[in-house]
């Protein structure tokens, strides 16, 4: 929208204090004027400009900077073609620091067939945040002149829920231009504001009178600049977050996409679980005791174990890797283990992982170290891992204690399909009794941890949006005494 030249006013009134001619665009309605020269508010009748006006109040000139939109300028705000005819600077009785500016808007040309109920309109600007204010069509209803006491209100017509933002009494600090009411009387008003971005619902109530409700809508500074054809840089810079400023961080799209992806992920996990069944074997071995304090040179045994090319012991007659007869190789002092045990074979029909759990059932106050080699019987490739099991318990000062763990777990993932068995080389503590070792081999194709890790990674973007959204809302409610407990 291009700027419209400021048209000469149809009438003028004379300031009773400094005799400055004050323009009047609506002589039929206006009765209160603010002199831009001496900052005097006065009553006058534009129809009889020769009559001297009555001074209402003088404002302090040094306090104010003047309007950022010139009086008399016209512009199109939405469907409203309007003119700025008055300007006020307001603050609160309880907080004289915060001040905002209100611009009185009147129709710039006669309204033909339009809805004139919205006039008078106002533009309000606080810290660079603009609101277009008009009469509210939907607002809380109270009995008689009782004020609305709720902290929240939901419009039945729009479904918007408004939250209490502020309560105050205004103080007028400056006024220029023309007004159709004595603006100083507004200092008696009790104002309540309710926010539902981009809207703000406001009630003004004079003593012993009914509340009058207005609805404001947030305007971007560029919208104001465009509407009045002024350079946006001449408007006040935005500071902080406006009461009705829309939150630019919309979290719904990211959460919607994440929800769909999480659903697909769950379906994939289910499909993997169904189509890639897992196998499990359990076996119990006895780790024979090792005599205490062997004599030097008289180690457990001097001969190394007899092993095949897969690292498996040459087993006794019971046969290799039979479920009921675990193989037992000769212990070897030179290799540090007491006896080699061979597990049953497990067949992996597809690439998967093997979860091995060692549990020393009767391990108490000693340790046993397990070195295990998972061997692919077809390729001979082995995966060797070591785990220590130790468990200690006792009573000290009348209190029982325990430390360590009788179980340890190993996961070897990404194993190619094939037949595997486990060579176990236990090294028990010397001087202890036999130890029962339970070995559980489980095949896994899909992991809960993978599911959770990918779910967490995928949720990073919506969480980031949510944090920015929350931060924006926190910043908004910092200016209110009625911040909700949580966003």
């Amino acid at each position: 929208m291009s700027s419209v030249p400021i048209a000469p006013p149809p009438a003028w009134v004379t300031c009773p204090k400094c005799a400055t001619q004050v323009p009047c665009y609506e002589p039929a309605r206006s009765k209160c004027f603010g002199c831009f020269n001496c900052r005097t508010l006065f009553e006058a009748n534009p129809a009889t400009p020769t009559n001297k006006g009555r001074i209402i109040k003088g404002f302090r000139k040094e306090n104010v900077t003047g309007p950022s939109l010139p009086l008399g300028i016209t512009g199109a705000l939405g469907s409203y073609y309007c003119r700025i005819t008055g300007y006020q600077v307001r603050t609160e009785q309880q907080d004289r620091i915060a001040e905002w500016r209100e611009y009185q808007l009147r129709p710039a040309e006669p309204i033909v067939g339009g809805d004139s109920i919205d006039f008078p309109l106002q533009l309000a600007e606080y810290q660079g945040h603009w609101l277009l204010i008009k009469q509210a069509r939907s607002h809380p209803v109270t009995k008689g002149n009782h004020s609305f006491q709720g902290k929240e209100w939901t419009s039945q017509s729009t479904g918007n829920t408004y939250q209490l933002w502020h309560r105050y009494q205004p103080v007028i600090r400056d006024a220029q231009g023309e007004f159709d009411w004595n603006i100083i009387e507004d200092e008696r008003l009790k104002v309540q504001e309710f926010t539902c971005p981009p809207y703000l619902l406001s009630s003004e109530q004079a003593p012993k009178a009914n509340s009058v409700w207005y609805q404001a809508e947030y305007l971007e500074p560029d919208q104001v600049a465009t509407a009045f054809g002024v350079n946006a840089n001449t408007l006040p810079s935005r500071v902080g977050t406006g009461a009705a400023q829309p939150n630019p961080h919309d979290t719904a799209p990211a959460w919607r996409l994440f929800g769909v992806a999480a659903l697909l992920l769950s379906l994939l996990a289910g499909w993997l679980a169904i189509t890639r069944p897992s196998a499990t074997t359990t076996e119990t071995f006895t780790i024979p005791a090792v005599p205490a304090a062997p004599a030097p040179g008289a180690g457990l045994l001097t001969a190394p174990p007899t092993v095949d090319t897969l690292g498996r012991a040459v087993v006794p007659a019971a046969g290799a890797a039979t479920p009921s007869a675990p193989a037992a190789a000769t212990p070897a002092a030179s290799t540090g283990y007491s006896q080699m045990l061979v597990s049953k074979s497990i067949v992996l029909t597809h690439s998967s992982a093997v979860d091995i759990t060692f549990t020393a059932l009767d391990l108490t106050n000693h340790w046993v170290e397990i070195t295990a080699n998972l061997v692919n019987e077809e390729t001979g490739r082995g995966y060797e891992v070591t785990r220590s099991l130790e468990y200690y318990e006792g009573v000290e000062d009348g209190e029982s204690w325990s430390e360590g763990n009788r179980s340890a777990n190993v996961v070897i993932s990404g194993l190619p399909p094939g037949r595997y068995h486990l060579n176990i080389y236990p090294s028990p503590e010397a001087g202890t009794s036999d130890t029962m070792l339970l070995v559980l081999l489980e095949q896994h194709s899909s992991f809960v941890s993978n599911f959770l890790i990918i779910l967490v990674l995928m949720s990073a973007v919506p969480l980031w949006h949510w944090m920015r959204h929350s931060s924006f809302e926190t910043s908004r409610w910092e200016n209110s005494d009625f911040a909700p407990a949580s966003d």
Binding site: A254, R256, Y337, G382, S413, G414, L415, Y425, S449
Partner: protein, 70 residues
């Protein structure tokens, strides 16, 4: 449902990068599942895959049967 799908279409157009990342995550989960690979806590990383024979050291802290073998 139709409204949700319309929203979803709009979301995909608004956030193509995020949609791509989500697809990547789903593909990664599928490939990991097919390959039996675990993202975290895989002891294969530390497993010795070279040796097929018996271990040459062992015992609690290398101290086995009264002799320090390490």
């Amino acid at each position: 449902m139709l409204a949700f799908l319309r929203h979803l279409g709009s979301d995909l157009r608004r956030s193509p990068l995020y949609a791509g990342l989500l697809s990547l995550g789903l593909a990664a989960f599928l490939l990991l599942g097919m390959g039996g690979t675990r993202l975290l806590g895989d002891d294969k990383e530390t497993a010795d895959t070279e040796r097929g024979g018996p271990p040459r050291t062992g015992g609690h802290g290398g101290y086995v049967n009264g002799f320090n073998h390490k």
